[in-house]
Symmetry: C2
Subunit: 454 residues, 2 copies
Amino acid sequence: MESLRITLEQSEIPTHWYNVVADLPHPPPPPLGPDGKPVAAEQMGLIFPTAILEQEMSAERWIPIPDAVREVYRLWRPSPLIRARRLEELLGTPARIYYKYEGVSPAGSHKPNTAVPQAFYNRQAGIRRITTETGAGQWGCSMAFAGQMFGLDVRVYMVKISYQQKPFRRSMMQTWGAEVFASPSPMTQTGRDLLAKDPANQGSLGIAISEAVEEAASRPDTSYALGSVLNHVALHQTIIGQEAKAQFAKVGDWPDVVFAPCGGGSSFAGAAFPFLADNAAGGRQGRPTRLVAVEPTSCPTLTKGTYAYDFGDASGFTPLMKMYTLGHDFMPPGIHAGGLRYHGDSPLVSQLYHDGLIEAVAVSQLATFEAGVTFARAEGVIPAPESNHAIRAAIDEALRCKTNGEARTILVNLTGHGHFDMAAYDRYFAGELEDFEYPVEAIRDSLKRLPKVG
Amino acid sequence: MESLRITLEQSEIPTHWYNVVADLPHPPPPPLGPDGKPVAAEQMGLIFPTAILEQEMSAERWIPIPDAVREVYRLWRPSPLIRARRLEELLGTPARIYYKYEGVSPAGSHKPNTAVPQAFYNRQAGIRRITTETGAGQWGCSMAFAGQMFGLDVRVYMVKISYQQKPFRRSMMQTWGAEVFASPSPMTQTGRDLLAKDPANQGSLGIAISEAVEEAASRPDTSYALGSVLNHVALHQTIIGQEAKAQFAKVGDWPDVVFAPCGGGSSFAGAAFPFLADNAAGGRQGRPTRLVAVEPTSCPTLTKGTYAYDFGDASGFTPLMKMYTLGHDFMPPGIHAGGLRYHGDSPLVSQLYHDGLIEAVAVSQLATFEAGVTFARAEGVIPAPESNHAIRAAIDEALRCKTNGEARTILVNLTGHGHFDMAAYDRYFAGELEDFEYPVEAIRDSLKRLPKVG
């Protein structure tokens, strides 16, 4: 009996994370302070422990994974690489479709891959309390779980629209012992100011970040943890792609193309970066593996944004980062892939895209749900709306393979299950969801408010 | 690095189900018709296809699993056996605790183990449509998924209180293409009669069964599928215990005791029956493995019921089965472990209990949630309320081991995750849940209405 699931032993959990900075054609532009000069490590030290700052700045190719982190990873890793044989048959494609299934983690997504080391390093540095933000709730759940593993208190600012749409993600965080607030909240100055202007403010990831950072910066026993965007987050996620490479090697196959959803960029980075090391050497099969970031047309950061210095949050609390951005006060519509509603993108992903080493494509909401339902009915797994973006692009590619008679190998980063997103599926079935293509003029408008640098 | 997860290759998926009837000390009492005589196969043929009826009546020890069924099992099986090392450390017990994790199935529970073969055999017999009932929604989701795998229409009668408390289980069924009705419903005579008497009737598994059976019996293209209780269901679930045995053999350990939640009995049967084959031969370690069914104090079928012939449903539509029962019109309170709210128990489980070959224990609701939260905070996985019953009993056993200094090996059948039960966890944290021990007088009262036989 052919095995659909390609598994690794727990002893094969990677011992190091892969740092793509070592293989970049040129060094990443540094984060800048309000004065336009590179941010000193001491300033970042207000909200991050030293070990994490070192990873954020590092150019070392391999960073060892602490034993205590691998110990927690063992609860669900290595995650399976699964051949989507029934989906291939349904599509009638000669393509081979594999998905790396990160929904097996306790929190149901790839996010614990970085939440766990972040909790570990903070605990090691004597920190007692973590503040963070969450969009769809996947990151907040992951940080709540990770905090519990290392005995840290966790306080989560949850984007208000998700707090309302996804009450059970909140319950899940509470089951793991975290405190959860709808953002904007009355807990911070940022939140109070926004609520004074508009009590009905639905929130955004940028606002929630501002709140969490503000609180962490004001308390010495408290650190901030970010679930995406930053270099150390991308680093931790590379365990996904590294495992996938080992799994492909095991069955003697190799992806021609990798599709991953791209919001802040960590799930894309996790799946794609390890293949860049091979691409830099000409590709494992004599040609590079195509690496495609899939984003929503409603928040088209890479495909419609600008590569420029901008704030990471809505209110200008963070350092400036060089990245593709739609403008820090860009307010995306309330689409259901909450995890992809971020105005910017990981500086590393942005740089790679700017240098032409990776690709990007934007897909519309209805098409992603159609893909998700097709996937669920073929493979059983009901994917998260974020993951549906990568599935949509993979199905499109498989259909192109059918037209062209090409037996390509496709890898999808299936970042999480949709068990807490069934209300979104409901609305899709009821015909209540809409496509939303952000008007170019609106983007042009928010880009006018980019900070001036130098 | 020690492996916490004991996995099997997909080629090691068992090729046969184990039929415990072959190892019973005496043959099972037959189901009886309204006339008190054994039911003829032709009558059952109204709602079940021949292949399933044959399994229901079979005394063969090994029943082959069709390739097409193993093909679908491959989407998630073999399920992992996981050493709960962090829980052991938290409890400070010398016991070794393992859990067989059935939450990895697409539907999130053990139920697809039987839904898939039931869909297959019906499809093979030319049936186009399946009716069924669901309590907590786990079974309905499983049947919806399985129907989708074999191109069958599925219609689910969902106990009204669950339909209201667990809307996302309904969405999940719909994602897999099923139709779902709150039961009692206006779709059947049974439902209409009950609603006429009490429009606010919250429903019960017995009522929902009546509705699904009524519809199946009235249409030749439609079969009925039951998610528990019957012999063929118990048979299909034995894949759990068989895999667990192979996994224990792989690491050179063996359970001294198995705990499984017990409502209709299929999850208990699945985990426990395969060990009875070894017990019958004196036990793999020279002593039998203790097999413990764990039920709620609010619906204490084995521990407080009577071993007698009774109807399987509330309105007396089904044949009479000899089983432990609280009376077919017993109405359990609206506890959150909806899957355990059934007035009877599997005739095979009942017979084994009556013969003293297995044990039973009842646990109260608050204690089960306390166990579930402890488990989630130690192991990450948030269990379904049903599974929390087995976890409670296992933790109690592990604590006894600590007191007595005994290094016993404990197996828990962790039948599903709690992703669709977070509202119940919320209520537990809010102090809104109660313990409910069913008064002996109330049970005595409903037992007065047992049907007269012979």
